[in-house]
């Protein structure tokens, strides 16, 4: 008598209660309900000083309005905090719904295998020893897979409970008037306690300390601080990208709902109009990242809203949107744009990030990739902006970029391959960042560069000259501004041309088949990340960790007997050529 232990069909996949769409609608209504409390507070402050009214009666009125103003501003923050908690709940509910579908599908597959095993056992009269051994092995495998499913299901159930508990606490904390009017504005006790722990972001903690703080929080505490303090969590260097993304999506939803409502009412101020435009641009970019399908796998690598600050820099905004998983990708690229870049360009640049992602994957070694558009600095607004001619913004931006990459490094337990790409003025910004001793990137790519800022040669960048790569289209007028040899060009550039011989970086092919016969500041400067170009092909190779495989180009130089010479000027460019400029499958 042989016994084959077939596992029971379990667990029963629990129902998920609640509707993400309904919850999101409730959040939108709460954002709307918060606004009148805000206008009350503003009115109380504005109209405390009613022009021309003086005397005892006025003083009595002023005192009353003086207390009503701050109270209503606190009430506004409380309702808003609850609305954000509902947004977080709705987003989490959506994720839980997807995860439940996965669990259900796994269970169905296991049950089908179990039914097949039972049928085979039933049919196995007088089975041979090897048949019995095979049936036993299948039963053991099935038992192991059911056990894994049970574990994952238990974990999923806990997440469901945590999500509900968190929202319940948010409502409860903000229900009483005393709590709503307190300094914490109705934040839950979990949230305020966690934010008072050492290493919490916002108090001068280093990215590593912030990471340690986050690692020490329970799932409930993480959810609590995300819902209550999304501004802080969304921009905290050192936190996992997924945590920042959760928080920034709350802020985005808040802005879209609150400002969209004001727009409908016709009460949008000029500043708010810019803020709403920035929010919509971030939404569109994020949607593009989420919709993108990796042609090598047919899967969606997903999108991340890594930074969201639509009121920064006098309304230009700060934003970072990534394609791919920033927390787990083997290869991570961070792209810094140049002059004229504003938050409203997010969708455009996210599209370019899908190109970088695709090139790195299509010509890559199979490693996973993430590519992020980072606009975390105040880029000069255009050629006529005096800031364009100086390196101040690049220097400041370099510090910010360096901090951002420090945060990325600290947020991950592993050593991802990290590439910093800078275009135009952003290349000068990147050079400033890379001139810091402990710059966190492994490779640096400068494209269309008007100059490498503080670095006169590639060795001055902390990654070392062997890891500095430069792309320059021979017709790119901006890339001609830097000094290329023994005679400088005066104040028109921003340092040494990194494509020049003197600089000593690896120059890669970056000519465009559509190039014109004359230098220009248009297409030649703006096509480095276009599909099926030499430039994108080589950038993909570098991002994938194979900078040694780029198609090298001869460096420019400036002999004493003539003007600067670019050997690439007369070379015939390629496009969509396998192994040289093909960056993805041809469109069908």
């Amino acid at each position: 008598m042989t016994t084959i232990a077939v596992p029971a069909s379990e667990p029963q996949i629990a129902e998920l209660l609640g509707d993400p769409g309904g919850a999101e609608a409730l959040a939108t209504s709460l954002y709307k309900a918060a606004t009148p409390f805000e206008t009350f507070g503003e009115r109380a402050s504005d109209e405390r000083l009613i022009s021309g009214w003086k005397g005892y009666a006025y003083e009595a009125y002023r005192d009353a309005a003086g207390s009503a103003g701050p109270e209503h501003e606190a009430m506004h923050q409380s309702v808003r905090r609850v609305a954000r908690a509902v947004t977080f709940y709705a987003d989490t509910l959506q994720t839980l719904k997807r995860d439940r579908d996965d669990l259900r599908d796994r269970k169905q597959r296991l049950d089908a295998d179990r039914t097949g095993l039972l049928a085979d056992i039933e049919a196995a009269d007088d089975a041979s020893a090897s048949t019995i051994a095979d049936l036993q092995a299948r039963a053991r495998d099935l038992t192991s897979r059911y056990r894994d499913l049970i574990t994952d299901h238990d974990s999923w159930c806990r997440r469901v409970t945590d999500n509900e508990d968190q929202l319940r606490q948010s409502f409860a904390s903000a229900k009483g008037l005393n709590g709503a009017l307190s300094a914490t504005g109705g934040a839950t006790q979990d949230a305020t306690d966690a934010m008072n722990e050492p290493g919490a972001p916002g108090g001068g903690s280093t990215p590593a300390e912030v990471k340690a703080w986050w690692d020490g929080l329970s799932a409930e505490e993480r959810a609590a601080v995300t819902a209550a303090y999304p501004e802080t969590i969304g921009s905290a260097d050192g936190l996992p990208a997924s945590a920042r993304d959760d928080a920034n999506r709350i802020l985005l939803d808040d802005d879209l709902a609150t400002l969209g409502d004001k727009e409908a009412d016709g009460t949008l101020t000029a500043d708010e109009k810019m803020q709403l435009a920035n929010a919509r641009a971030a939404r569109d970019g994020l949607h593009r990242a989420e919709s993108y399908v990796d042609p090598t796998t047919g899967a969606k690598p997903g999108g991340t809203l890594w930074l969201y600050d639509p009121t920064a820099f006098d309304g230009d905004g700060r934003v970072a949107v990534a394609v791919g998983d920033m927390d787990t990708a083997d290869d991570v690229a961070v792209f810094t744009p140049g002059i004229k870049s504003e938050m409203t360009d997010t969708d455009f640049y996210t599209d370019k990030m899908t190109n970088v992602y695709e090139s790195a994957r299509y010509n890559g070694d199979g490693s996973s990739v993430a590519a992020m558009f980072w606009l975390g600095y105040d880029a000069p607004s255009g050629p006529t902006d005096p800031a364009t001619l100086t390196e101040g913004r690049a220097e400041d931006g370099g510090r910010r970029l360096s901090d951002a990459l420090d945060g990325l490094r600290a947020s991950r337990p592993d050593e991802a391959h990290l590439t910093a790409i800078g275009h135009s003025y952003g290349s000068t910004t990147t050079a400033y960042a890379a001139s810091e001793d402990d710059f966190a990137a492994d490779d640096v790519v400068l494209i269309g560069s008007p100059g490498a800022g503080p670095a006169e040669n590639a060795d001055e960048l902390s990654v070392g000259s062997g890891h500095v790569y430069v792309g320059r289209d021979s017709r790119d007028g901006v890339a001609m501004l830097g000094d290329e040899g023994w005679v400088g060009k005066g104040p028109i550039g921003l340092g040494t041309d990194p494509s020049s011989e003197d600089f000593g970086a690896t120059r890669f092919e970056a000519e465009d088949v559509d190039r014109s016969s004359l230098p220009n500041f248009g297409d030649a400067h703006g096509s480095y990340l276009d599909d099926d170009t030499e430039s994108l092909y080589n950038i993909g190779k570098i991002v994938d960790g194979h900078g040694d495989d780029v198609e090298e180009a001869e460096q420019s130089y400036d002999p004493w007997y003539s003007g600067a010479v670019d050997p690439e000027w007369d070379r015939d460019p390629t496009a969509n050529e396998p192994g040289r400029s093909e960056t993805g499958p041809d469109a069908t």
Partner: protein, 102 residues
């Protein structure tokens, strides 16, 4: 106090603004009371409903405060205006002339 005075139109405008704010708060109060919590899990719905009820009340109270400000400013302006008219009538009877025209 060494100075007293009003600009009547400014006070009227402020009063009107507070009146509009009161209407807005009353509308918000009703909307909060009517919000559906059915999209939330049942374990959350009760506390969510309590929150809506409480905040509907706060919004109603805010409407009363705004309305009180509106009325107070308007009434004060009227009182000062009335007092000014009374004073004017009294002061109109003053005669500052000398001689036969007095």
């Amino acid at each position: 106090m060494s100075v007293t005075g009003i600009e009547y139109n400014q006070m009227r405008s402020a009063s009107t603004g507070w009146g509009e704010q009161a209407d807005e708060m009353e509308k918000t109060s009703k909307e909060l009371a009517g919000l559906s919590v059915s999209g939330l899990a049942p374990s959350v719905q009760h506390v969510a409903s309590s929150f809506m009820e409480a905040w509907s009340g706060y919004a109603h109270e805010s409407a009363d405060i705004a309305s009180g400000f509106a009325d107070a400013i308007s009434t004060t302006a009227d009182h000062i205006n009335d007092a000014d008219q009374v004073s004017k009538s009294w002061l109109d009877r003053l005669d500052g002339h000398l001689g036969p025209t007095r």
